[in-house]
């Protein structure tokens, strides 16, 4: 279980935005997004979430679809 980071994905936004799922999977340097049930969805790879480097590449790719939460700031 991730202890430091939570990554929230809005599945609806990802589905609606063409190519976003593929982009997220490609862009994350620590493989936090894995392929989902179909081509328009992603699954968060729980085991990798604490590796998040806070590089913002995912949130820049989709400000509405992805949120990266620092659990240690709550």
């Amino acid at each position: 279980m991730a202890m430091f980071i939570r990554v929230d994905v809005d599945a609806g936004v990802v589905k609606k935005t063409a190519g976003l799922a593929k982009k997220l999977i490609e862009i994350c340097p620590v493989k936090i997004f894995g392929p989902g049930a179909d081509a328009d969805s992603v699954e968060v790879v729980e085991d990798n979430v604490d590796e998040c480097t806070l590089c913002d590449l995912c949130t820049k790719a989709s400000p509405d679809g992805v949120k990266v939460v620092k659990l240690y700031e709550e």
Binding site: M3, F4, V30, D50, E51, T53, L54, K70, Y72, E73
Partner: protein, 400 residues
């Protein structure tokens, strides 16, 4: 990576340098048999890579096979610098008229391969250089061009040789230069290069070490000499703890962990790599601390790697607390390190605020690291606290 003398001589022989007739004996009776085959007096040498201060005791002579058996029994029955001999090298004892010393190595000041020789063989070349510098001669080689024979010739001339002795010495020195370069050695030295009555040059001993960085491309010769890939050939064979550390490093290529070496103390150390680890280790010892290990991390390791390493260090018998100390970090991220260390502690069912005595890794992403550490109640400090002050606090908490 050190070679046994028996292997080193095999390599010299392969390249046409004279070595005494010899046999590698694994048991006293093999040594007895070897002595009778070789005939006359023999020299017996315990094959130990790092005898330390017991070096002188590794060699014995015997005048007959029974004496050889007894000597081998002794050499195989004891330890040298903590290591048992893996075999005994039995050599025919040769009479020599004169003994030289030749070393081929790298000179970090000239940044070139270097040949160093003396006409006073059989003594420590570095001591000679300090005490009788006139008897130590040097030549540098090009690293780009194939070694020039003339440099070996000039060195032979400097040793006072002429005639066929000069030519023979030139040949030996030139071959040693080639061996150094071709096999990625850090050093090859024949400390006692004997000139026999009939003018032949024979290497009575040989010290040879291969650079770890070059080992990967020397597979062919290592196989020929029978050196197994798993043999570290270091002063101290790796313990299970060391090997577990190496495995963690190998399994996750992000960042480096290493070296990871086990010691006998009670303070677990997770310390910044390179010079930071040396400085921290010194600081802990200076404050009276007794480190349980040396675990250097750097190059921005992943959270998982820091986590695994923390578990290894803290999981060791007798280690109750750890200190996380690094120089000011540049590319290693303090926040990722904090995440990994805390995860490792919690996975062991321990309380980060209790077992992490101090966290001192200021620098890249420190603001996030501080938030994490604060949340888990871990004592941390910023760059205004020096490495030695951090070490002092850790030692005080753990007790000496």
């Amino acid at each position: 990576m050190r070679f046994y003398e028996s292997e080193a001589k095999q390599l010299l022989e392969k390249h046409g340098i004279g070595v005494p007739p010899r046999v590698v004996a694994k048991t006293p009776s093999e040594a007895e048999k070897a002595a009778s085959e070789l005939g006359g007096s023999v020299v017996l040498k315990a094959q130990v890579l790092f005898p330390g201060s017991d070096k002188a005791a590794t060699t014995k002579t015997a005048d007959n096979p029974a004496g050889a058996k007894a000597a081998a029994e002794e050499l195989l029955g004891r330890k040298f610098g903590g290591h048992a001999a893996r075999a005994v090298l039995v050599e025919k004892k040769l009479a020599s008229a004169k003994v030289f010393c030749v070393r081929a190595t790298y000179d970090g000041i000239a940044k070139k391969p270097a040949l160093i020789a003396s006409d006073l063989g059989g003594t420590d070349l570095d001591d000679l250089a300090d005490e009788q510098p006139d008897h130590v001669k040097r030549r540098h080689l090009s690293a780009l061009l194939p070694p020039s024979t003339y440099r070996s010739k000039e060195l032979a001339k400097d040793l006072g040789l002429t005639g066929s002795a000069l030519n023979r010495m030139t040949g030996v020195v030139h071959r040693l230069a080639g061996i150094l370069l071709d096999y990625d050695l850090t050093v090859v030295e024949v400390n006692s290069l004997a000139m026999t009555e009939d003018g032949k040059l024979i290497a009575l001993d040989c010290h040879m070490d291969m650079e770890i960085e070059g080992r990967a491309r020397q597979g062919k010769i290592l196989a020929e000499l029978g050196v197994d890939e798993s043999e570290a050939r270091l002063p101290r064979e790796p313990t299970e703890f060391d090997l577990a550390g190496a495995k963690i490093d190998h399994d996750d290529p992000r960042g480096v962990a290493g070296p990871i070496v086990e010691f006998g103390g009670n303070i677990g150390l997770v310390i910044g790599a390179g010079g930071g680890s040396l400085t921290t280790f010194d600081a802990v010892k200076k404050r009276g601390g007794d480190p349980a290990n040396y675990a250097a991390i750097g190059g921005n390791p992943s959270v998982k790697k820091c986590q695994a390493l923390t578990k290894l260090v803290l999981g060791k018998e007798g280690v109750e607390k750890i200190a996380v100390i690094s120089n000011v970090v540049s590319n290693t991220r303090a926040d990722l390190l904090a995440r990994g260390v805390i995860k490792g502690v919690i996975e062991l069912g321990l309380e980060p605020s209790e077992v992490i005595t101090i966290f001192r890794a200021p620098g890249a992403w420190e603001a996030d690291a501080f938030k994490i550490l604060k949340k888990y109640g871990v004592e941390f400090c910023d760059r205004s606290v020096s490495i030695s002050e951090a070490a002092k606090r850790a030692v005080e908490k753990i007790g000496r």
